[in-house]
């Protein structure tokens, strides 16, 4: 009959959505929960392994977390929209090859230095743009679109690799992983810079606030005359740029351009974001939340290795964590969430 405004039919039962007290409680758990988990983990591992407590370990843990942090900053923007991005691995593959082939390397005579990195970041942005356009314009579900783009990225990387590994020669880029200031590599500072910029964009710019609002109530925005399409595409593009930067950083760590440069980052970043409180449903969490998640994932990875757990188990662990986190979040709502695909 008559289409309802905002999907509500005339005659639908109006229900009062909870106000201050109920939400404050839920809020508290969501904001402090992950931090509490982090503290617990640090304490547990600190007690279990003396090596964990060493300054050296802290440095290497932070360095290992740097690339993940940058990837997670990127994916946070997509998650805020309520979409998912499975393309990090593929985009990083292509960008790693790009970095290693543009800056001074063992395969060709190019030596673009910082411009090589800039082009890489831009390339990442192009992949992100592709993700966004396919999702928004072609209306392909984001998991499918980004899965496809990831495959394209891997393919591009494999083609660029052409069987001959491009070794990294550029001293500046190589130096990111080796030069240390106050014990931490330049990678860590790069990551920090990315986090700060990411946080600022998310909290104080139109792109960030709109992305948050889209995840919260996209239909309201559309009704208010806001064109959400461009913002969604922009969010994916920003994510892609982050993946590009992360790829350059990973290349520095690996010392060469590799198709596997992005291996595992898709899943690890999703895990980190969810565990930190940036929910898959969108409109919740943010860059800082995700960073707490990155720390949790990193501490877990580091700690597990130190107590002798196989590194392969880690990935499985991450998978378990994600399933538990999403299931746990949905449990109180289960009677309402009747149709889940």
């Amino acid at each position: 009959m008559q289409p309802g405004a905002l999907g509500v039919e005339a005659g639908a039962t109006a229900v009062r959505t909870p106000g201050r007290p109920a939400l404050a409680r839920g809020d508290l758990v969501q904001t402090l929960g992950p931090s509490a988990v982090l503290v617990v983990l640090v304490v547990v591992f600190g007690l279990a392994s003396p090596q964990f407590r060493s300054m050296n370990n802290l440095h290497s843990m932070v360095d290992a977390a740097a690339v993940l942090a940058v990837v997670t900053v990127g994916i946070t923007f997509v998650l805020l929209l309520g979409c998912i991005d499975l393309s990090a691995t593929g985009v990083m593959a292509a960008c790693s090859l790009t970095t290693s082939l543009l800056v001074a390397n063992t395969r060709n005579a190019l030596d673009l230095g910082v411009w090589g990195v800039v082009v890489t970041v831009l390339l990442g942005g192009v992949f992100g743009l592709l993700n966004g356009v396919i999702s928004v314009r072609l209306k392909v579900p984001s998991f499918m679109a980004t899965l496809g783009v990831s495959a394209i990225g891997i393919g591009v990387a494999t083609v660029m690799f052409a069987g001959v590994q491009p070794g990294l020669v550029d001293p500046w880029v190589s130096g990111w992983a080796t030069q240390r200031w106050f014990g931490f590599t330049q990678l860590a500072y790069l990551a920090l810079g990315c986090i700060i910029i990411g946080w600022f964009v998310q909290r104080h710019t139109r792109l960030g606030r709109t992305a948050m609002a889209i995840g919260g109530a996209e239909d309201v925005l559309i009704l208010s005359g806001v064109r959400v399409g461009p913002y969604k595409v922009a969010a994916f593009t920003v994510a892609g740029c982050c993946y590009g930067l992360a790829a350059a950083m990973a290349t520095s760590q690996l010392g060469a351009g590799l198709v596997q440069a992005g291996g595992g980052y898709t899943f690890a970043s999703i895990t980190a974001a969810i565990v930190g409180g940036t929910l898959l449903s969108g409109g919740r969490g943010g860059v800082l939340h995700s960073m707490v998640g990155v720390l949790i994932v990193s501490v877990l990875a580091n700690g597990l290795v130190l107590i002798g757990v196989s590194p392969y188990v880690q990935r499985g662990f991450q998978g378990l964590i994600v399933v538990i986190a999403v299931g746990g979040a949905a449990w109180p709502l289960r009677r309402r969430l009747v149709v889940v695909k």
Partner: protein, 337 residues
């Protein structure tokens, strides 16, 4: 049981005032899209034959079908999951894990290792289905998680290395030929597809799956057993992943923790290229078979044309995106993120 003779008399209602429904003389969209995969197979086959006349050779066709078999098998169960409106991203990893288990269990169980592995894979699928249904976790999250967990288990128990098969007689039948040209792997795939298709058609389950995939709220309010059906779909997906592992181990004489990982994307491509809508309801198993052939032919075609295999990944990516974009049900679009 319905007793038509004692139906309470509902007097013939007076002919209603509303008009008869509009007649559709143009061909149904579903018929057109139904023929498309077949047309594509023929067109591709034709093109490949032109590029390389030996393509039509029975030996080469047989090799093509054989190489498509593991992929096709993997895609069978996943198609049913997609028909219900979900997705199973764990099929590759589960097949890899199953291959390792098979290789590891043959020494102790002999031939019984095969049913054991398939049963284990089915149980893994069941578990994912239960988590999806009971905890309301979206299927792509559950299976994404499953993918990493299965992969991790496979890497750990195999110590990240290949596990050779000690007694190849156990799996020989899965990589053999009947006569000169008919690969047993293909027969196995055809048997499974036929079995599943028949079950879906002669029991109410096929209608249930379609209803759940198209309009789940209506299916639920008609009293359909939505949750059991979805769990069954995931269980089937696990089963076919196990069977795919058998096919793979038979031809490589070993189990490997990452052997089938790269089959996920081509399997998904097979499903969507065959015309099964990612939104659910619309599609079918034979379409996926056509899709598997198309995907394999495209791969073969690439090498025939001289394109390096590195481009395969790009091909799959473009295929998947294009096919989904074309088959997506636009009326559900408002709901998709």
């Amino acid at each position: 049981m319905s007793q038509l003779s004692t139906t309470p008399a509902i007097p013939d209602l007076a002919p209603p005032a509303d008009p008869a429904p509009r007649r559709r003389f143009r061909v149904q969209r579903s018929t057109l899209s139904g023929l498309a995969p077949l047309v594509a197979v023929l067109a591709l086959g034709g093109a490949l034959t032109v590029a390389n006349p030996r393509f039509i050779d029975p030996r080469s066709l047989s090799a093509l079908a054989d190489s498509a078999a593991p992929l096709a098998m993997l895609a069978i169960g996943a198609t049913v999951v997609v028909l219900c409106g979900g997705i199973d991203l764990s099929i590759g990893a589960l097949a890899s894990l199953s291959s390792v288990l098979l290789a590891m269990w043959i020494p102790t169980l002999g031939s019984a290792a095969i049913p054991a592995v398939v049963a284990t894979a089915a149980a893994a699928g069941l578990l994912q289905g239960v988590l999806h249904v009971v905890f309301r976790i979206p299927s792509f999250v559950v299976t994404l998680g499953g993918m990493t967990i299965f992969s991790a288990i496979a890497l750990v128990i195999s110590d990240a290395g290949t596990v050779p098969v000690t007694d190849t007689s156990v799996t020989k039948w899965a990589f053999d030929r009947i006569g000169d040209y008919i690969p047993t792997s293909v027969i196995l795939v055809l048997v499974v597809v036929t079995l599943v298709t028949v079950v879906l058609r002669v029991t109410p389950v096929g209608t249930w799956i379609a209803a759940i995939g198209y309009t789940e709220p209506a299916a639920r309010l008609a009293g359909l057993p939505v949750y059991p059906v979805k769990v069954a779909a995931f269980t089937l997906s696990g089963t076919t992943a196990g069977l795919a592992a058998v096919l793979l181990v038979a031809r490589t004489y070993a189990g490997n923790p990452t052997m089938a990982d790269s089959l996920l994307l081509p399997a998904v491509a097979a499903i969507v290229v065959g015309g099964t809508a990612i939104t659910g309801g619309h599609g079918g198993l034979w379409r996926t078979m056509a899709g598997a052939i198309i995907v394999t032919m495209l791969r073969v075609g690439l090498s025939v044309v001289g394109v390096p295999s590195a481009y395969e990944s790009i091909l799959y990516g473009v295929l998947v995106i294009g096919a989904v974009a074309m088959t997506i049900d636009r009326s559900k679009v408002g709901v998709i993120k």
